[in-house]
């Protein structure tokens, strides 16, 4: 039975249901996350001036060019990979975790490491085990400890010309070097100075909240990061489980030990507002690729990240622990996914069919 051409008004290939889709795409997800990061980033730009802008721009350009190059080597289409925005997000997060006056090659090396070794080597988007931005940050921290821990206190921002010299010719800025709060506390401990003295004149909660302090480009404005995170939760891009658990994982032991010995252990507010915790809680541990895929799994993952962060900060060799904690928990993600699964309808937790029950 031949079908005359006129009887087939539609010549599209056969498509499977559903014939409808939620108005969402990977590009939109990434764009929303970038939007959520923008206030904290702009604040960082304002706080640290042009060097911060340079560093951010260099990070993004290096990531885009580097990713395009390796995707080309794999003979895959470049455009969709760049347009999905994941490489840009990675570079952006990395830039926010760098000292704002770091030299340009730190940003380039970090970005290339993140998108090439951290992501494309594993097979590209969705395949990597470790968070690329955190892997790059840890690589930089271990390889270039000096450049990665030279902080500046926010003061009068340098002019554009001077900023180019800072970023591209590694010109040291006299009298501006400073230490982040956690680094300062750690140094003072080694000198036998207790927490009460170490914090005196260094820890001002309101400054911490609003970000007027030494630190990475984007980690200082705790409130703006929190707002960005809450925006993502409201837009259902992330859920509260991992961020909340991470903050809990830091705050609970901090409170406990601070109550026992206030002179040796910083309190929960110091921990919550310092270092990369807010950035980590809302933008790093919520990375879908490297975190578990159930709500409970994400909670466990976040809790682990928080506890490890606190342990490394308190007893580890480095003043800051978010990046290390995240990488360690990334490695645990597959095993969390193996053991934490939703209960299937009509089955018990172990997967056996429910018993046939009847009421008479």
């Amino acid at each position: 039975m031949g079908c005359a051409a006129g009887k087939l008004p539609i010549m599209n290939p056969i498509a499977h249901s559903p014939h409808a889709h939620a108005p969402i795409s990977i590009g939109k997800v990434m764009a929303t996350v970038l939007l959520a990061l923008t206030p904290a980033t702009l604040f960082g730009f304002w706080l640290y001036g042009w060097p911060a802008v340079n560093l951010w721009a260099v990070s993004l350009i290096a990531a885009i060019v580097g990713e395009a190059f390796v995707v080309r080597l794999q003979q895959r289409a470049v455009r969709p990979v760049i347009m999905d925005g994941s490489g840009i997000l990675t570079a952006w997060l990395l830039a926010l975790s760098l000292p704002p006056y770091a030299p340009w090659w730190i940003a380039v090396l970090g970005s290339l490491f993140a998108v090439i070794i951290g992501k494309q080597v594993f097979g590209g988007l969705g395949q990597n085990v470790f968070n690329p931005a955190m892997a790059a940050r840890v690589m930089l921290l271990i390889s270039f400890p000096l450049e990665m821990t030279t902080w500046v206190a926010p003061s009068q921002a340098p002019g554009l010309l001077e900023s180019l010299r800072i970023t591209f010719f590694s010109q040291p800025i006299d009298g501006m070097a400073s230490a982040s709060l956690l680094g300062h506390v750690k140094t003072e401990f080694t000198r036998g100075i207790g927490l009460d003295q170490a914090l005196a004149g260094y820890y001002a909660p309101m400054d911490m909240l609003w970000g007027s302090r030494a630190g990475s480009l984007g980690e200082t404005a705790a409130v703006l990061l929190l707002i960005g995170g809450l925006f993502l939760i409201a837009r259902r891009i992330i859920t509260w489980h991992a961020p909340f658990a991470m903050l809990l994982g830091v705050a609970v032991p901090a409170l406990l030990f601070n109550t026992i010995d206030a002179n040796h252990y910083a309190g929960p507010m110091v921990h919550l507002l310092s270092g990369g915790l807010m950035l980590g809680a809302f933008f790093i541990v919520t990375d879908p690729v490297t975190s578990p895929n159930t709500a409970l799994g994400q909670f466990i993952f976040g809790l682990g990240c928080g506890l490890l962060t606190w342990v490394i900060r308190t007893w580890g060799g480095y003043p800051e622990g978010v990046a290390f904690a995240v990488l360690l928990m990334n490695a645990a993600t597959p095993i969390i996914d193996q053991y934490v699964k939703p209960r299937i309808y009509g089955r018990d937790r172990k997967g056996a069919a429910l018993a046939v029950k009847k009421e008479s």
Partner: protein, 493 residues
């Protein structure tokens, strides 16, 4: 009434306002009707008419065949002009055995066996009349209704649930039938309840149908039929989900609603039951929603089974603009079709002509493990993990993750930001799995036959050897006896 929590689910844009205010109108009598012999789950019906036969409206034209099947009746009066293949309402567009009926324009009913006092009928009698009327589940699954009644009557029914969820976007046929024919539906529900001796009757209707809820409440009065308002969510109208939300019970994996003392029927099925028992009318027509952005005047029509879909689209004033996709059923679980010559069947709830903006189709990109699908799955599966296993042809891994528990509702595909056709993966894998299981059964059967043959040959050889041994023994015994006799004779001599 207290409702129970449901896992997952999605909230697609309803789009019901396109057609919801349009009254059900009968479609003008088509000139030709193409009635497929299989419009239900189970075996196709066997035709009992021949080409050239004159039939009356409602006359049996094909008989149920085997345990799971359903009868088919003439949708109008006229002449059978063909028994043969016609394009099927299926994405493949492949032909299926079909009875083609040319209408004589008189639409003359066969003599009907009406029942004056339907509530005096015995349960078995109700089920028998439902079977004779060729009623199948009109919610979309098209399982023979009488079979379900008989199975449930035998196992006992605590709760009869009537599904008025209609959670698929665009579709308004159940909403309209509940608004316009509530009294008939309620009587049909009570007849179903009588057929299975149900102790409790719940009619679940989504809260986006306030007029239907009001009409059904009025019709039900203070009687045994309880109208329950459920939140609007997809897939609320899925059998497993509506049971869970109304009773808190779950069907055990691999089981049936009867296992937990529940029977679920669609409200439109109740109307068909009412028509069959009260007036003796078989199921030959149904309400269909013709809608979608590409349809000029979306509407609800009552159309005869076998009507070419083209006539329904024409009745809705045709296309407002070129359709990007044509769908039978709702957009979430409906099937695409390309040939508008296909007939509508008992299970056709909607005919949709969608624009590309409504479909939201895009190239699939890599999975970012965002687990939106995990949150959307009403069953508690891990769609992303199942798809990863299926992608590398690891069906066992997918089954271990619960592939067989997937209800194919499409919620995961709907929400996937990477536009991965997850439910397509699962249906493909289920098909592959079924093929594997069939081939395994076949292999086992072959092996059994081969084993039987080997055993048979061995037995024949053994028997032959034994027979030879017996003969040999007998011969030897004879010889020995002869020798002994000779020896005796010699001794005697």
């Amino acid at each position: 009434m207290k409702l129970f929590d449901l896992r997952g689910g999605v909230h697609p844009e309803g789009k019901k306002s396109l057609s919801v205010e349009r009254h059900i109108r009968p479609l003008p009598l088509p000139k030709k009707l193409y009635v497929p012999l299989q419009q239900h789950i189970g075996a196709p019906a066997t035709p009992v008419v021949n080409v050239g036969d004159k039939v009356l409206k409602g006359q049996l034209i094909a008989n149920a065949q085997g345990a799971v099947s359903s009868s088919i009746h003439a949708p109008t009066s006229g002449t059978i002009i063909a028994l043969g293949d016609h394009v099927a309402p299926h994405p493949s567009g492949l032909p299926v055995p079909t009875v083609t009926l040319e209408s004589d324009g008189e639409d003359k009913w066969v003599a009907l066996n009406a029942v004056e006092e339907p509530f005096t009928l015995a349960p078995e009698d109700i089920a028998a009349r439902v079977a004779a009327a060729g009623i199948v589940g009109l919610g979309g699954a098209t399982f023979p209704a009488a079979l379900k009644l008989n199975l449930s009557r035998n196992s006992g029914v605590q709760t009869l649930i009537m599904n008025g969820g209609e959670c698929e976007p665009y579709l308004t046929c159940d909403d309209r039938i509940m608004r316009e024919r509530a009294a008939e539906i309620v009587e049909g529900i009570r007849l179903i309840a009588q057929a299975v001796a149900a102790k409790e009757i719940l009619v679940g209707i989504e809260d986006n149908k306030p007029e239907a809820i009001a009409a059904m409440r009025t019709a039900a009065g203070d009687g045994e039929v309880k109208i329950v308002v459920m939140p609007s969510m997809y897939p609320m109208g899925s059998e497993k989900q509506i049971i869970q939300v109304l009773t808190g019970k779950e069907i055990p994996a691999g089981g049936r609603p009867a296992d937990i003392g529940v029977l679920v029927h669609n409200v439109a099925t109740a109307f068909a039951v009412h028509q069959a028992i009260r007036f003796g009318k078989p199921l030959i027509s149904r309400i269909v929603t013709v809608s979608g952005g590409a349809i000029k005047t979306p509407c609800n029509v009552e159309a005869l089974v076998g009507t070419p879909v083209q006539e329904l689209i024409a009745f809705a004033d045709g296309y407002a603009q070129p359709a990007a996709r044509l769908v039978l059923g709702g957009p979430m679980m409906g099937q695409q079709f390309t040939n508008t010559d296909v007939p509508m069947v008992k299970g056709t709830s909607g005919v949709l002509a969608l624009m590309s903006a409504e479909i939201g189709q895009a190239e699939a990109s890599p999975c970012i493990r965002c687990s939106t699908c995990v949150r959307a799955c009403p069953v508690g599966l891990l769609p992303l993990e199942m798809a990863a296993h299926i992608r590398v042809a690891d069906l066992t891994g997918a089954v271990d993750l619960g592939l067989k528990d997937c209800i194919a509702c499409g919620s995961c595909s709907y929400v996937c930001p990477a536009h991965i056709p997850l439910v397509h993966y699962f249906n493909y894998a289920k098909g592959d799995l079924a093929a594997q299981e069939r081939s395994k059964l076949k292999q086992e059967a072959t092996k059994k036959l081969a084993d039987n043959r080997t055993e048979r040959i061995a037995r024949i050889e053994r028997e032959r050897a034994e027979a030879m041994a017996r003969r040999k023994a007998a011969r030897e015994a004879k010889e020995r006896a002869a020798k002994e006799a000779a020896a005796k004779a010699e001794a005697a001599a």
